[in-house]
Subunit: 144 residues, 2 copies
C-alpha cells in the first residue's frame, strides 16, 4: 500500500512538529498525488481547488521543507522551472528532460548503478543522480 496522509502527519508529529490545517492539507495532497510531478504551485492549486483551503505559498514551501527534513519527501529539478516533489518511498525512477521540447522520460534507477559506482570508485563522490534531471534531446528532437 502507498503512503497515506496520516503516515505523513504522524511522521511530522513524531518529529515534534505540530499538525495544523495547512500541514494536513499539504500531506493529503502529497499522498494523493504520489505519482505526479508535484510543484509548490501545484500543491497550492490542489489545496484551493480540491480541498477548498487557502494556504499561503510560503506555508506550502515551509511544509514541503518540513517533510523533506523528516526524510519522507525529496525534491528534484527537472530542467528550468519549479522543483518537483516526490515521496522518498515512491520514487523508483529518474528523469531525462528534452532540452528542446521539454518532454521527460523515466529511466529505471538500475540503469545508473554502474555509472554511480564508477564515479564513486574514481572520485569518492556519492552521486545523487536524481536531484538534477539529466538534459538531452528526445528521439524526435534529436532527428534534426
Amino acid at each position: 500500500m502507498h503512503v497515506t496522509a496520516d503516515d505523513l502527519t504522524s511522521t511530522l508529529r513524531a518529529a515534534g512538529l505540530r499538525i495544523t490545517a495547512p500541514r494536513r492539507a499539504v500531506c493529503e495532497i502529497v499522498a494523493a498525488h504520489h505519482d505526479d510531478h508535484l510543484t509548490a504551485a501545484t500543491v497550492l492549486e490542489h489545496a484551493r481547488r480540491d480541498l477548498d483551503v487557502r494556504i499561503d505559498r510560503a506555508t506550502v514551501y515551509r511544509t514541503l521543507e518540513a517533510l523533506e527534513d523528516v526524510g519522507i519527501l525529496r525534491h528534484a529539478h527537472l530542467g528550468h522551472g519549479p522543483a518537483v516533489y516526490h515521496l522518498t518511498e515512491e520514487h523508483r525512477h529518474h528523469h531525462v528532460v528534452c532540452e528542446r521540447c521539454g518532454a521527460t522520460t523515466a529511466i529505471p534507477v538500475g540503469e545508473f548503478d554502474a555509472f554511480v559506482e564508477t564515479i564513486a570508485a574514481r572520485t569518492g563522490f556519492v552521486l545523487d543522480v536524481e536531484h538534477f534531471a539529466i538534459s538531452g534531446l528526445c528521439p524526435s528532437c534529436a532527428h534534426r
Copy 2:
C-alpha cells in the same frame, strides 16, 4: 593555442553580427578566463574592474547568448545559482557538485560514454550530460 578574443569576434562577425565595444569586451573576458567558471555576473565584474568598461547586464546576457547561438560558447547549471559559461572548445570535463558544501569536481568526459550509450540504446534520448551538473556528496561530506 587557445581561442582568442579575436577568434570570438570574428566568429560573431562571420555570423553577420556587429562588433561593438560591449561585445568585444565580453569576448576578451571569455577568452581570458577560458578555464574559469564564468557567470554573467563575473563577466560584468571583469568588464568593470579589468577593462574599466561598464556594460549593462542585459547586454552581457545577450552577448553570451549570441556566442552560444554561434556555437562557440555553452552554459551549464552547476546546482543552484547562476549558469556558468565555457568555450565549447575548452570544455573537456563534466562537473559533480557536492550538495552539502558546494565543492565541485571534474570528471573526464569519457567516464560518461558507456552511460550515455546505454540510455541512447534504451530510450532514444541523446543525453547532454554536461548541461546540468550531477549532484552528490563529496568524499568528506559523504562521511556523515
